[in-house]
Symmetry: C2
Amino acid sequence: MLKLSTKGQYGVRAMFEIASGHAGEPVAIKEIAARQDVSVAYLEQILNTLRKSGLITSVRGPGGGYLLARQPEKISIGEILRSLDGPIALTACQDPMEGCVRADGCVTSLLWKALGEKIEGFLDAMTLRDLLTGKNKQLSGQKYPSLEIEKTGHHAFLEKTGKIGA
Amino acid sequence: MLKLSTKGQYGVRAMFEIASGHAGEPVAIKEIAARQDVSVAYLEQILNTLRKSGLITSVRGPGGGYLLARQPEKISIGEILRSLDGPIALTACQDPMEGCVRADGCVTSLLWKALGEKIEGFLDAMTLRDLLTGKNKQLSGQKYPSLEIEKTGHHAFLEKTGKIGA
DNA sequence: TAATACTCTACTAATATTGTCAAGTATTTT
DNA sequence: AAAATACTTGACAATATTAGTAGAGTATTA
């Protein structure tokens, strides 16, 4: 339960790729797609949305690609997710577009509201810079591996089977 | 995004109904269904699952119904949700049944893991007792209304239209 | 002018959620 | 015993959402 859409996930990863791109140079969609193992077409949708939200800019022509519209520390994960998946709304009651229907709903409604705010607080406090450096307070307490790309036969195996234990 | 299933929502609300039922007396499914405005058939599924998870017990025969299997303070919202919707898994990487596929996944993977733990921590700390009394620390800071049932023409309106602004 | 790259819209397939239905079993009161 | 009440179970259908594809088009620069 409480699944994050692949759109949101890919979006964050794409933003990470752009952020970690060679300083100032646009990152081509093709390159991002290759690294993320996502189709170019799907990524186009995602990046298009992010561009319209003002999180990235694009440069056309050969050598073109995508750039962050702001410094990594000015772009939160929350912004990225909201751009792609709309506002966080655990329940219909919390959704701005809907309304609280049930009369005795206020008890659990407050619960979901509190949780939603907790989640948003977390996501808004976390920025691309944190992902780049892994130094955010919220992530500390976790063992933080280096950002080096890790490749093992193990992963290759998982890639083929798709799932384990299922 | 990050929607909670109706099953989980109804489950929590049903548990709340049972918890607030007349001391020691079983609460009939019919009564719960009426209060929650959910079909009896759907609720049966939900309560059945909760019973199998050991969160409630049932009493048959006229005057029968459902009872909490433990004291309200011993039943967390997290338990209820996990019982109905399975483990919280924001992403496939976090799902015990799946695996982390992408080689460079560790950066965002940690992010989702940290968020997931934050959410679980919240839900496991929150109990039915907190819902009954509204005194949990996590809920404080929220304006906390009385548990009185609130009925306004406003709500009745929403009930008919279903959604607003959509 | 050709290559590269981004833009946009529509559409489909897969999956999960949400909920219904029907038949049956157990318990207690009268 | 019989009737009323209540829980049990499993199959199934409708709906919504997600995920991803396809294809035609526009812009930019070497």
